[in-house]
Amino acid sequence: MNKNIILVVDDIELNRDILCNSFEDKYEIKEASNGVEAIEIIEAYKDRLLAVLLDIVMPEMDGFEVMKEMNKRQLMKYIPVFLITSETDPSYLQKGFDLGAVDVITKPFAISFIKRRIENIIELYKHRYSLQQIVNQQIQRIQYQERELYDATRSIIDTLSTAIEFRDCESGDHVNRIRKITRALLNELVRNNEYQFTPRQIELIGDAAVMHDVGKIAISDQILNKPGRLTKEEFEIMKTHTIRGCELLENIEQLKKSDLYEYCYDICRHHHERYDGNGYPDGLKGDEISIWAQIVSIADVYDALISIRIYKPAFQYEEAMKMINDGECGVFNPLLLKYFNQVAYDLYQNYYQNIGTKNEKE
């Protein structure tokens, strides 16, 4: 961008002449004889203006008004304004500075001095502007790289979880559904002002939820894929998938560096806790359990009920809802249950309709 214009504003032609004469060797000069003309020119050439040399006493619109208008239009940020005035009253000068003038030059002036002062400031502004440009570019580059990094991390998570879930679920879709249900519930809580989550947090927690059962990789096929009810001992082993999952996560260096990690770990460990303290592995109670772990609990139960599993057929929507609401699958947070009920049918329609039809055919 070619920034090389200086605007000289003064109703007295002689004054403009002196200033023009001093700067026209190096810069392109624009002139205005009152505030209204000045604003028009500033607006038209704002990307190319290096400085505005502004008189105060002018007809139509005076220098102070010009600066007020510039402030309103956010034009002072990159264009230094020099007030050039014959007023010596300190309150005038103070007003000038308060309105954002970078310097106040009193008339009559010595041209070589003000030339120096003005050019010094122009240099500074040029430098500041180009630094700002560099910083902006760097910020953009960093943001782009952060996104790429996150996408890579998410890829790892999805691949890992899908592979692990593949052993005991009908398909890898379970992983995706948990993500979607988790996000839907979070959004519902935010929508009703129960919790504050940023869109980024909701994205993260959704992705973290995908890892909730990675610990199953440590559980033997015999137990994981047993078609019937587990014995007491088998169930104890099964329960360890929470802690084993955390151990696994702790070993993924890439994940530990990510914002996802805290959520992943928490959800992995606590998605089988229950509101009344009867869950596992830590027996946390009530709000000791983080809200996102609670959400993944309910999402996991819902998905398990409505889908076919090796140990059970798929239940109908109404049946599944009754079981959850009646506490047959554990006690849930009443507040959470309320909002879950509000979104459950939409979730069913969006993600389970096909599965339901498939079951009816069988």
Binding site: D11, I12, L14, N15, D17, I18, N21, S22, V57, P59, S86, K107, P108, F109, A110, I111, S112, K115
Partner: protein, 119 residues
């Protein structure tokens, strides 16, 4: 040149120093002064007793004379502007006369210098 300028009330050294010693620019601006219309506006405003216009135009002449190192004229117009701002119109007649007198003095002096110069 310097002596001649001093004789007609222009502090030539001061003028040059403020224009970074550009004598050509100084002379160009002084020549331009001969075409300046401000004095006519002052005359009109005075005759019509239009004090707003008078204030504006005397202020203008003050700026011009200040820039061109016309010390005496600058002094007269400065004091006149102060009074006009305070709405003290008692002094207007007096200042008007002084102003015209000084102006004509400078004007004629400059005209002579430039006419002679071009011969």
């Amino acid at each position: 040149m310097r002596e001649e300028m001093l004789k007609i009330g222009i502090d030539y050294d001061d003028l040059l120093s403020r224009l970074a010693n550009h004598e050509q620019l100084a002379l160009k601006l002084l020549k331009k002064f001969l075409n300046d219309e401000t004095i006519n506006t002052i005359k009109q405003a005075y005759l019509n007793q239009d004090y707003d216009l008078l204030l504006k135009s005397v202020h203008t002449l003050k700026g011009v004379s200040g820039n061109l190192a016309m010390k005496s004229l600058f002094c007269i117009t400065k004091n006149w502007v102060d009074d006009l701002r305070k709405e003290n119109h008692a002094t207007t007649d007096e200042f008007y006369q002084q102003c015209l007198k000084e102006y004509d003095f400078i004007y004629n002096g400059l005209k002579t210098i430039f006419d002679e110069g071009s011969q």
